[in-house]
């Protein structure tokens, strides 16, 4: 292969790669997914995650750090029990001694208990399956925190000033993982997925049988945490 031919080959490869990674830090899931202005979220999508715990190392917390940076969770809280925790790493040990480490966050249930118990309608599920807190009507009663089997929600105890403009959050309201809804709406990946260097997290559309996440769930052994509750979670795990 001459130098020029090799260059041409590399350039063609770069163009192909460009369809997936447009620029460092900006990954398109697929060009069609960024919605136009004025267009609502549609139930043709159901956003979900598939987490491969075999690739998740106990010593790594890149997803947790990326989440905190993206969502402006920068406040110092005197009591560590009151710290907001949208995503956390947990280590589990099976009876046979096998150990796993995995990220745990809002599982974006299809039948979310937090929405069932909310007295004001603040806990809500969007058409595309993302479970959110409407802080405009949240009264901070914390019933949803008690109802959530995954301990996915946090309550903000102190006034905040360092919010990211795209991620409003504040005192007196309950909050949780939004699946980076502000990024997903632009056609980007959630911050944790983008930060995972091991490729342990896959984001995709569970409603589309041809998406990679759906194909893997159909053909590989995956599980829902507390599947016995029949919540039909949007976050699935592999390897536990």
């Amino acid at each position: 292969m001459t130098e020029n031919a090799r260059r041409g080959f590399l350039a063609a490869g770069a163009t192909f790669a460009g369809a997936i990674a447009v620029a460092p830090g900006l990954h398109l899931i697929a060009p069609a997914l960024a919605r136009g202005a004025g267009e609502p979220a549609s139930n043709a999508n159901r956003w979900g995650l598939l987490i491969d715990t075999n690739k998740c190392s106990a010593s790594c917390d890149a997803c947790v750090k990326a989440c905190a940076t993206e969502n402006g969770i920068t406040e110092q809280v005197a009591d560590p029990r009151q710290r907001s925790q949208w995503i956390r790493k947990i280590d589990i040990k099976e009876k046979n001694g096998r150990q796993h480490s995995l990220p745990m966050m809002c599982q974006h249930c299809s039948d979310p208990p937090c929405v069932d118990v909310c007295p004001t309608g603040a806990s809500m599920k969007r058409a595309d399956g993302i479970v959110l807190v409407d802080r405009h009507v949240c009264i901070g009663c914390r019933y949803c925190m008690m109802a959530c089997p995954y301990k996915a929600r946090s309550f903000v105890h102190e006034p905040l000033t360092e919010q990211n403009p795209q991620v409003p959050r504040g005192i007196g309201c309950v909050e949780a993982c939004t699946l980076c809804v502000h990024r997903v709406d632009k056609g980007q990946l959630p911050a944790c997925v983008e930060a995972c260097t091991e490729g342990a997290m896959l984001f995709g559309n569970l409603a589309d049988p041809n998406s990679e996440i759906s194909r893997r769930i159909a053909h590989e052994a995956t599980t829902q945490v507390r599947a016995d509750l029949k919540l039909n979670t949007g976050v699935r795990y592999q390897g536990i």
Partner: protein, 127 residues
Amino acid sequence: MLRILSTLATIALALPLLQAAHAGEVPKPSAAIESPGTQCVAPPAEIRRNHMEMLKHQRDLTLREGIRGTKVSLNGCIACHASKKTGSVIGNNDNFCQGCHAYAAVKLDCWDCHQPKAGYQATGATP
């Protein structure tokens, strides 16, 4: 007739007092438009009267239905109206939102959760 005259006299006596009261009024808010020459999303009279309804309507559409990129947006307000000195719409009565709300004595809840500084980027993280 006598009663009407006495009422008139009372009014005449009270006039200077009323004028004095007027002089002691709270001054009108002086917040300057920070990006003059640009066009707001609606005429000022409509914005003054209806901005809260516009934002309230929009917030429900955006959060609950996921509609983005529309005419009305709180971050859009800040982009033009944040103070050039402090970069914020609140903080003191010279700043756009706080100035008017202090004058009208209406509590401002938006900024408990929303970022009041234009172009703000949160830095650092404490997971």
